[in-house]
Symmetry: C2
Subunit: 333 residues, 2 copies
DNA sequence: GCTCTTTGGGTAAACGTTTACAATAGCTTT
DNA sequence: AAAGCTATTGTAAACGTTTACCCAAAGAGC
């Protein structure tokens, strides 16, 4: 028996209309005295607005759904923090929905949950929608915005890092430190567009310095810790490492490489320098702390929500920057 | 203009009642032919149920709200995974709400969001509600259940690890490994009951072995990385460490201790053994990997949801176990 | 004293579902 | 043939809000 505005109306002697007006603060439609009385009775009765009813009649809601990918939530935290902060400023409330991990069924469930509740908008944090789910999303009238994911289809509204720039930044930094044989590890070049762009950035930086990558320098992977392990094992097949530095596709890849290197007694950074892509807190807590191309995840969330609400189209980029820690050694020429 | 059941009714020639029955699959109230037709038209029109309307009339919902604490989400991930899996089995959907970090305002907002949407139940993942928010929660008729948090008030329904047991387990393990001077670091003994219980378990194990703790052995903190750093600095004030092993209040504390130790050239585990409490993936990725008392977070989520729905009262404990990695050295007597 | 605003508040419809209750048709029983 | 089922469908009320529209009283201006 939740108390309703009817109960308040009865108790105060006012009509439901008046009660509704003071409770939703429609200024200028009631007197102070009325408001005071209504509010007091509402409190006494433990009144709580029934959002279903409100949303049913107003046909709008101030909730934003954020769909997240169940894996790799280590940077989602920052994105969500950004979203949350912006939402607070705007008086929106955000609900987070798990969209599984490349699982079309789970994606669909999360998507319909959001759509059925007619949320004001949907944010998708690195969720790579299956084609039919993408169609579903597009056919709904709910605004949506992707965060931290890059598509071939540039028409999809999203905010993300410039992945070409990331590859370029990491590579040219290592070149400036004197490295010439530079690996690239743990990126996925097949279905993910992100991987291809970073690779292109890497190659561009190399080419600009009259270098070119040997094929064994680039080791594909799935951005995981295990991919890092596998990459280092591939590099370490011969007694001499073919590279002096490696760019890891993610922090976890970087840590995998680091740990495998230490298991194989390859000192980092003396024998192998590492630059990691992402720059989450994980970089700080390993030893040596990993130099990284740090993405501005917080900002992605913060301005992502902004963009969603202004119905922006196209791609927005956030700035990445190189954060020097202790995993890169400058080599003397 | 989302299509509604009215539109489908018009298009098919049936009444809204029939359409509703087909769409919500009230078996035995319609013929196959009818169902086929209705479903087809629904699909054509891109019909999506309006949950607000449904919830308004049925006064029930199958969504579970999970409130989480914005910090320390590193183990929340496992808990959420558990919740999610159970929810999938049960056909429930879960929405995650951020409840800030010991911020009564944010807590209240998350709480009212959940309450206003009349969710089927509320799960609170290590959120330490302020007194007034607790009252608010209790006064609502919505079932709730705490996960991974212990209260003095044993009437509060929750599932968590046995914190006394954790302290005892870690300590007695170290004693069995031959340690006699054992520290305890990074726990909060003031407002959090958890810290007190773990301390009691620690003391119990010590006492059982005719040992007792020197006051400088236990260093309070707030479960953070920085608390670990501070604890080690406290231990390392004299040239000789007062302890041979330390129990870290959380993985982050353990890593803080580890890194500070390595900065000070104190080899782990040769000069200092570390047992960490939590046992998340973080333990695996540092060097040496940290031996831990591993809590079963996944299970907390999984059975937490179960318990919530069966309206269980009182405390349920999940089992913790000691996971040996590489941060503890057995000392010869 | 009369009309015109302004202020405060009431009436009732609408939002999209679900479901109790009725109604019909076609059977089966007796 | 009357009565009773069963299967299928329809009618309409209900859920708790919001809000367009209406109304009355109180001043304001003449």
């Amino acid at each position: 028996m939740q108390a309703t505005i009817k109960d308040i109306a009865k108790a105060t002697g006012f009509s439901v209309a008046t009660v509704s007006r003071v409770l939703s603060n429609k200024k200028g439609f009631f007197s102070e005295k009325t408001a005071a009385k209504v509010n007091q009775v509402a409190k006494e009765l433990g009144y709580k607005k029934n959002m279903s009813a409100t949303e049913l009649v107003t046909k709008k809601s101030n909730v934003i759904a954020a769909l997240i990918n169940s894996t790799k939530t280590n940077f989602s935290d920052s994105i969500i923090k950004g979203i949350q902060d912006k939402a607070d400023e705007l008086g929106k409330t955000v609900i987070i929905l798990y969209a599984g991990d490349r699982d079309a069924r789970a994606q669909k469930k999360a998507l319909t949950t959001a759509l059925e509740r007619s949320v004001a908008g949907i944010l998708l944090l690195s969720v790579d929608l299956s084609p039919e789910n993408l169609t579903l999303l597009k056919s709904a009238r709910t605004p949506f915005y992707f965060i931290s994911i890059t598509f071939q289809d540039t028409a999809l509204p999203c905010i993300t890092s410039n992945d070409h720039g990331i590859g370029y930044l990491a590579t040219s930094y290592l070149i400036r430190q004197g490295h010439r044989r530079i690996g690239l590890a743990g990126l996925d070049f097949s279905d993910s567009y992100t991987g291809k762009l970073r690779l292109a950035g890497y190659q561009a930086a190399l080419a600009e310095n009259q270098l070119s990558a040997h094929s064994e320098w680039v080791q594909a992977g799935d951005y995981s810790y295990e991919a890092g392990i596998a990459a280092l094992d591939a590099y370490a097949q011969n007694s001499e490492l073919p590279i002096t530095a490696v760019i890891a596709g993610s922090d976890m890849v970087g840590i995998g490489i680091l740990n495998r290197a230490s298991a194989l007694k390859i000192p980092v950074p003396q024998k192998l320098s590492i630059v990691t892509i992402d720059g989450t807190d994980l970089c700080r807590i390993v030893q040596p702390p990993l130099t990284s191309v740090t993405q501005d995840f917080y900002k992605m969330g913060y301005v992502g929500l902004e963009r969603l609400l202004e119905n922006a189209a196209g791609i927005t980029y956030t700035q990445s920057e190189l954060t020097e820690r202790k995993s890169v050694l400058a080599v003397k020429k």
